[in-house]
Symmetry: C2
Subunit: 528 residues, 2 copies
């Protein structure tokens, strides 16, 4: 593996500095190491806000990227990667196609692991390439950053933070295998914290708890598979005996794009900062044509339909099923669709290559959000109090959907066996049954009720780490203990030995005394 | 016990409504059920702030009280209690005297438990009396409160909140026996979360961890003793099968007067809101005579000496030891002292019946804070970055001192065996060794660096509970599980049985097959 990185490094294409530098000299210097794809969309919100507050932002961008093409004002530092944009897009086309034909089952877990390993292997290659580009590393070292802002979904950020000796702020939603919780020593009681892909909520029957425990055992094995490449990178570039989990444990602050309206309540750690809803933007005016279309929906209102930034097309046959359902409802539909041209598109449906999702959901006539259940979309639905019909495709989407369904603000369908009838029933049910909207309004009110806005909170903690050169006071001492010590198994063993020894000695003493007494009695009797 | 309450109820002295009503009709209605003594001092800060924000505040005050005499603008509702002010003061005089003569040891724990049980038995009597005053309860029910703000150190608040069906916000520092954490299902790993009175920090050697585990076992027994009276009250007035722990678990928000500058980092729960430093007030100008005294201290500065709101005098002999030490240092000393008149008070010492502690600590010439280590004082020391010499007396004070000493910003002495020499060495060390001040300045900067001020945070969450009629979304599902289920012991047992059965069946099958095979071979051989 290393040879690939060295080879690419040998290409000698050094970082290209581009774009404007807007950071103020008075602010701090922030090195941003994001993860490509939808992950970048919400991190960008924080990056732009930090820039507006006068910090110098430098974003490390791979040469071939899915969504990180424009710099939007901050400085970017582009590095060579050993794959092309076509190869990267190819892996996603494969992903897009597979989700419309596979039946979800228990094997979902393995399917998702395979998808994940495929995606991360590309990214791990890119990371190795970057770590071999000594001139880039020297430049980063010389520039004297105050903090590394990174998404620990991929290892490059945490590794660089450690190599360069700069405190790290992590920005993420969830990590596969609950690696975030494990690395941060956060207790996860299996009796009421459901495992991902288990289909459990926080209230479980006995069989569900059995399943949850078995999933934890399976996860233990899968984690090793999933993080093998990352562990390899860490032991090669940071410290030989270090795993990715050990490395992650050095993060100062974990900005978690979640909250307890979205997630079920569970134990947390002092350095976990919940910023769910960071992408709740204010409504901006719609373009004139869209405004006319949605206003024209009358009392029936309209539906917003997108399957996220990564999946915007689908097989024609599947698309026709959607159109057949939409034809039979009085609502208008706005559909983000980039696939082959569709025939017989009904008049109440408007296909668009891109749509202003949040602004549409914020419109008072928005009746329903037809979504794949990506965390960004779910939060926009929550912020704007629009009930959802969810079609989870991969990753955390099935679990996101489960959370929303369990709260009575959404329904869920599987896209692979979707029929026009199923879709119609679900759409009519959510739109016409007042309970979905009522519960959503209540939950949305709670969701938007913060002592401080999530974006301001994220900015505060990033600046806090800059001001105090970390947040060591929030790091638990558990990091110094091994598994055996953490669970006090050595102490329990020791106390057991002490108690058993004491019992044994007492027993021996009793026996000895009884024996002595008996002998004395015997002797006395004999004498008598 | 009940008869006492009924008897006092029969006295028929109904609640006396007094004082001005400043709450705005637009705000909410808050029923405040505080705990007397120093606990009230910080809760009062929140009560006054809520009042200023337009909420109608009604404070339930026992007729005989230590520190809750003046109403300061909010409405008070006074209820009869079966003890007099003299009896109450008497119990404290006994406490004051004992702390200057007893040697602290492992038995400290038992000593503290005894003190606590004595104090709480008075209060439990008062609570029983209140719960028997039906007219008061009817009035409270009729007034339609939005929230009960209470200190769960005593049971009256949580019981009334439950009886009246009003959501509860708890305001506290720590509860004996970690009852707060237990009731709120917060995990407490014994390997790095030190037990109170153990003398351990969060980094423990093996023997210290053994001690921590043993303390947990002892605590298990002591808790039953300590909370027996409260359990009795709860099962009598709320639900027969309910314990105080069960009752507390229904609290919506726990406003915890702590943070991780003060405490060691550990797991927390989503409904725990940390408001440590809520009593960090802005400096107000000193009275002219005090200003002159402290300004006159020149480059040597001055020392602030108080032993808290509950202990303001001491045996004369002990007081003379302090004076002898103060006589030998160049600093001036301001001492809150209300005991017998002292002879030979040196010129650099000013004795006062009361002193503006925070304003003095905020003065740039304040060099050292000589304190008993009550949480209020410790936070004022932290807020104003003044190193401390701590003389813990009882309750949580020894543990508070341990926290500060472990951070290198304080030293600790025991008051019972204090000598002039020991005091002199400690004073000179802290004042002249720069490291105490340097560390304190750093820690104080972290302590004061909040995304939102603790008082605003406390107000926000109290109002949140009013707005949303509770905070059910933060309540973990663990409350529905028993101890066995919570630790998944039933699941582990079941899985073990399944695995062992499977192994046994496999073994049986193997044996059966081997047997069959052997027989076949034997038959074949015989045939041959």
């Amino acid at each position: 593996m290393r040879s690939v990185g060295v080879w690419f490094s040998a290409l000698g294409l050094l970082a290209v500095l581009c774009c404007s530098f807007l950071g103020s000299a008075e602010g701090g210097k922030v090195l941003v190491i994001p993860v490509d794809g939808s992950h970048w969309l919400s991190m960008k919100i924080l990056v732009k806000e930090l820039m507006h507050r006068g910090h110098e932002m430098v974003v490390l961008v791979p040469e071939s990227s899915l969504l990180m093409n424009s710099s939007e004002g901050y400085r970017t530092l582009v590095y060579k990667v050993p794959y092309t944009k076509t190869q990267l897009d190819g892996s996603f086309t494969q992903l897009q196609e597979s989700v419309f034909v596979n039946a979800p089952a228990f094997t979902d877990l393995f399917f998702n692991v395979e998808l994940l390993v495929n995606f991360t292997s590309f990214q791990a290659k890119g990371c190795r390439s970057l770590l071999n580009q000594q001139p880039v590393l020297s430049q980063l070292r010389a520039e004297g950053y105050d903090v590394v802002l990174t998404d620990p979904f991929l290892p490059c950020g945490p590794i660089l933070s450690r190599i360069l000796g700069i405190p790290a702020v992590y920005f993420m939603h969830v990590l596969p295998c609950e690696m975030d919780l494990k690395a941060n020593q956060c207790p996860v009681p299996l009796s009421y914290v459901p495992k991902f892909f288990s289909g459990n909520t926080d209230v479980m029957t006995f069989p569900q708890r059995v399943k949850n425990n078995i999933m934890a055992l399976v996860e233990f094995y899968l984690c090793r598979v999933m993080y093998a490449k990352f562990d390899e990178l860490v032991s090669e570039y940071v410290e030989e005996s270090m795993t990715y989990k050990n490395l992650l444990s050095h993060g100062d602050i974990w900005l978690v794009r979640s909250n307890f309206v979205f997630d079920w309540p569970k134990p947390v750690m002092p350095n976990m900062v919940f910023i769910g809803g960071i992408n709740c933007e204010k409504q901006r005016p719609l373009p004139a044509d869209l405004e006319e279309f949605v206003e024209g929906s009358g009392k029936h209102g309209f539906i917003v339909f997108t399957l996220g930034s990564m999946v915007s097309s689908m097989p024609e046959e599947k698309a026709q099923q959607f159109l057949d359902a939409f034809r039979q409802i009085p609502q208008r539909v706005l559909w983000r669709y980039t696939g082959v041209e569709l025939k017989n598109v009904p008049k109440n449906v408007k296909l668009m290559k891109w749509l202003p999702q949040n602004d549409l959901l914020a419109h008072p006539k928005a009746k329903l959000f037809l979504t794949h259940g990506g965390s960004h979309g779910v939060y926009e639905g929550l912020c704007n109090a629009v009930p959802m019909l969810m079609l989870p495709l991969f990753g955390d989407q099935a679990d996101n959907a489960l959370r929303m369904v369990s709260r009575g603000i959404a329904e869920k369908l599987t896209v692979y066996d979707l029929t026009t009838d199923k879709l119609l029933v679900a759409l009519n049910n959510i739109i016409n049954n007042k309970s979905y909207k009522d519960k959503m309004v209540k939950l949305s009110a709670i969701h938007r009720d913060h002592p401080i806005q999530p974006l301001d909170l994220a900015v505060f903690w990033t600046e806090f780490v800059m001001r105090h050169k970390g947040a060591a006071h929030l790091r638990v001492a558990a990091h110094n203990l091994n598994w055996f010590q953490y669970h006090s198994l050595d102490v329990i063993g020791f106390l057991l030995i002490v108690v058993l020894t004491a019992l044994w000695l007492t027993l021996k003493c009793c026996l000895f005394c009884t024996h002595k007494l008996c002998r004395k009695v015997m002797v006395k009797r004999k004498v008598e």
